[in-house]
């Protein structure tokens, strides 16, 4: 079961007020050049089918309700990836009166992929990390683990999809 969970992460993409930069990079990560389907990744249209919630954007005050609803609609076990610097820190929009961020204030985040926007290979690495966190997680209970931070800023090497299959 753990192995199957790790090899079949289905994503649901949610924009909580992003500038669209990270959304484009997430779609690029699923494109033929990076080919995330090798890892079993599928971008699902309904949060009911998903395992991993990918959030972009600094969480505007209006998006808080939607973020909480969508998080509640994903069946357990689930994981959350914050894509870009905005959901991690609210980035350049910090102290804006229209924001209610960062994301970790509202839902537990497992993996941060910082960058403005992050590279598609960093996003893929984040998905693989989230899938391995997910595989260890029991139904329902969400153990409080320290979130993982992905990216070239942390000195991690560039990521290729074929390496994760080994």
């Amino acid at each position: 079961m753990c192995y199957c969970r790790r090899r079949s992460p289905w994503l649901f993409h949610m924009n909580s007020g992003s500038c669209n930069g990270c959304d484009i990079e997430l779609i690029a990560a699923l494109s033929p050049r990076y080919d995330a389907e090798q890892l079993g990744v599928r971008l699902e249209a309904s949060p009911r089918h998903a395992d991993i919630l990918c959030v972009t954007g600094p969480v505007t005050a209006k998006a808080v309700g939607a973020v909480n609803t969508v998080y509640g609609q994903i069946p357990g076990p689930k994981a959350v990836i914050a894509i870009g610097s905005c959901p991690a820190t609210t980035n350049v929009f910090i102290d804006s009166r229209t924001l209610d961020g960062p994301l970790a204030k509202h839902i537990p985040v497992d993996v941060f992929v910082p960058g403005c926007p992050p590279r598609p290979d960093a996003i893929l690495q984040g998905v693989v990390k989230a899938a391995s966190i997910l595989a260890e997680r029991n139904n329902g209970s969400q153990p409080a683990a320290l979130p993982v931070v992905i990216g070239e800023a942390c000195g991690e090497p560039c990521f290729r999809a074929s390496e994760a299959q080994k």
């Binding site: 079949s8 080919d35 090798q38 699902e44 009911r48 089918h49 609609q73 069946p75 139904n139 299959q165």
Partner: protein, 312 residues
């Protein structure tokens, strides 16, 4: 053949070959072939061989969150019913040369093939999601349009050869009429299996996941499995009509699997090469263009015996 041996044969066909024991791994294999073919057409490597199996096991292990205001029992029954009827349809296929069968099993097969589509319609409406309702309405419209052609083609093949028994139909010699019918059936398959250009009911991203929007974990796993079994049942029906009569059982089974594989590959390539059509153009396509094939087959089926009688 006495009652006991008939029952044992029927059970063996339903549970072992070409039933569940063969059909479930074959369903996963065909789902993989579909995804892999699309990936190769797009210049990607695509999912690993075991991917549909991983997806199925993962979905079985998911827990359902609360769905306030939704009929839980009904939502659990529809995918099971769809899966069971698709498995039953696979069990009826005349793969082996002396596989039994009975007079009229073609009609039962057609009815069982239609049940998953009905279940999808009912499932969408019982989940009370607006996207699911749109998907179900589309499925209902599409089902009305392709079924006229599908049934007309099958009935004209059966009527021209004077039998509704699948095994007899499979062993009879091929006529030009049968080939016209097979072409009509092949054109109906993308709509029956919700593939591009007729992927209207489950139109990905357009109406979320269509009728499946609210389905979670094990229910979704059953839908995936029933979709795979539908692949086998409908491609198997065409394969049974194409394969010439063979006395050696393993050769017959091997040819059956090879032809099914060929049809799956063909449909996947067509699916990845085409874009989704609008619902009105799909209905127009079936009722105006494809109906000609099926109508021609039906006219020949009716006219041939009359002409033969007139000559005498």
């Amino acid at each position: 053949m006495n009652v006991d041996s008939t029952l044992i044969t029927a059970l063996a066909r339903l549970l072992i070959f070409p039933g569940l024991l063969f059909a479930v791994p074959a369903a996963w294999f065909f789902l993989w072939v579909e995804r892999k073919a699309v990936a190769l057409m797009q210049g990607r490597i695509g999912p690993p061989f075991m991917q549909p199996f991983y997806d199925f096991v993962k979905l079985i292990g998911k827990t359902a969150p609360d769905r306030p205001g939704v009929g839980g029992m009904l939502m659990r029954i529809w995918p099971l019913l769809a899966m069971a009827s698709a498995a039953g349809a696979v069990g009826l296929l005349p793969v082996l040369p002396t596989s039994g069968g009975f007079e009229g099993d073609l009609i039962l097969l057609l009815a069982l093939l239609e049940v998953p589509s009905m279940c999808i319609i009912a499932a969408g409406f019982s989940s009370r999601s607006i996207f699911a309702e749109i998907g179900s309405a589309r499925e209902a419209i599409l089902s009305v349009s392709y079924n006229v052609v599908f049934l007309l083609a099958i009935v004209s093949i059966a009527a021209s050869q004077h039998t509704f028994r699948l095994e007899t139909l499979a062993t009879l010699p091929h006529t030009p009429l049968r080939w016209i019918g097979i072409v009509a059936l092949l054109i109906c398959l993308p709509a029956k299996l919700h593939l591009n250009p007729f992927s209207l009911p489950n139109a990905e991203q357009e109406i979320y996941s269509g009728p499946m929007t609210e389905y979670v974990g094990p229910e979704l796993a059953m839908w995936e499995l029933s979709h795979g079994l539908e692949w086998i049942a409908s491609t198997g029906l065409i394969a049974a009509l194409i394969i010439p009569h063979m006395a050696i059982w393993w050769l017959a089974a091997l040819t059956f699997v090879a032809i099914c594989f060929g049809i799956v590959l063909l449909l996947s390539v067509v699916a990845s090469a085409t874009a989704r059509m609008a619902i009105d153009s799909s209905v127009r396509f079936y009722w105006q263009c494809t109906l000609i094939f099926a109508g021609l087959a039906a006219v020949i089926a009716v006219a041939t015996p009359i002409l033969v009688r007139l000559k005498q």
